[in-house]
Symmetry: C2
Subunit: 213 residues, 2 copies
């Protein structure tokens, strides 16, 4: 008797993420899943990236929020294609939501798609959207204890942006401990210290971003 | 024929929250569910409250984190009963977790139990733990756009602590807009501006907290 054994069945989200990935690859788009806590500065980082790379790369943006379109309005000022997803309560984006809105973007006019996830250090790390890389943002105002408390996102991310370095003189944070704890969870994670306010470190990060593609 | 109609069956979490509530009430304990984004300063606020109220109230603490016991170690320095829950991935505490650990606390030696939820502006607001009131903390470094993006927690909370006011000179935040947007979601919410670093505003908040009980 011939018994068929199927070793791994993709769960629904992974299957839809794979569909997104194929579609984005076919359009020649490099895709980034941008994650971080509420108020870490994800949208501010996007503004810096758009300012820096807009001339050399065609960037498209998907904004994820539970409610409202504040972030999409900020991004629209840069005259780039942007779609706002409202999750209506869900604490993260998933592949199904991304699949639903991809056709709202002019995919043949985009080189790099950046998806700003819902502000949350936990659940977004659990759901692939079909991205090429994950980048997480953490404000130095959040403290150095974040890697130990939210390990999954640090493990999953290709890069960690330590934002708000302009506030370093005014906060108690052990940057050495933050870095070493992040690296012990994920030795491959690339760490950038930036200030979206003063633009310190933005050039170096944008250069790395362009090379990833 | 006699048909029985049951109009509202409590969901599992609400049922367990009710059990916790009855048990806490029976022990004469006033219970607070403390919520906020990662790094908003929930544990720092607890440290200020313990410093201020320890002489006049017997306080017990439950710490909720995905992993680690950093916060419980900080609280233990104050010589108050403390239990650390590790959710092991779950992005919020629920009534079942609280029910499981209540017996680890000396309930007859506690007047006020403060439960510090997992750092997350979304999901904790959806799960009652059996508390009397909910208090949320938001750092002024997180920006004034939080009410519109995370409306449920603002609607659910009895008080909003705007923390890190010592950093106000260095950040771009419209405190008037933050306040008015929070109040338009929840006209009853009591707002306190505090700095856990300089202790500004802590006395007023602690006085209010004592009166709630």
């Amino acid at each position: 008797m011939n018994i068929k054994v199927v070793s791994k069945i993709l769960d629904a989200n992974d299957r839809l993420a794979e569909t997104n990935r194929r579609k984005l690859k076919a359009a020649g788009i490099y895709t980034i899943n941008l994650m971080g806590a509420p108020g870490a500065g994800k949208t501010s980082l996007l503004e810096c990236v758009l300012d820096t790379l807009k001339g050399s790369l065609r960037i498209g943006i998907i904004e994820g929020d539970i409610a409202g379109a504040d972030d999409a309005r900020r991004i629209a000022l840069y005259n780039v294609p942007v779609v706002q997803i409202n999750t209506g309560g869900a604490c993260h984006l998933d592949a199904n939501m991304i699949g639903e809105v991809l056709n709202e973007l002019p995919l043949d006019e985009i080189d790099m798609l950046i998806i700003e996830n819902v502000g949350n250090l936990v659940c977004p790390a659990e759901f692939s959207l079909g991205e090429d890389i994950k980048i997480m943002v953490s404000g130095v105002t959040e403290g150095h204890d974040k890697p130990g408390k939210y390990p999954l996102m640090f493990r999953q991310s290709n890069a960690l942006i330590l934002n708000k370095t302009d506030l370093l003189p005014y906060v108690n944070i052990d940057m050495g401990k933050f870095r070493s704890d992040a690296l012990s969870l994920n030795p491959e994670i690339k760490i950038f210290e930036v200030s979206c306010k003063t633009r310190d470190g933005i050039g170096e990060f944008c250069q790395w971003l362009r090379l990833q593609r």
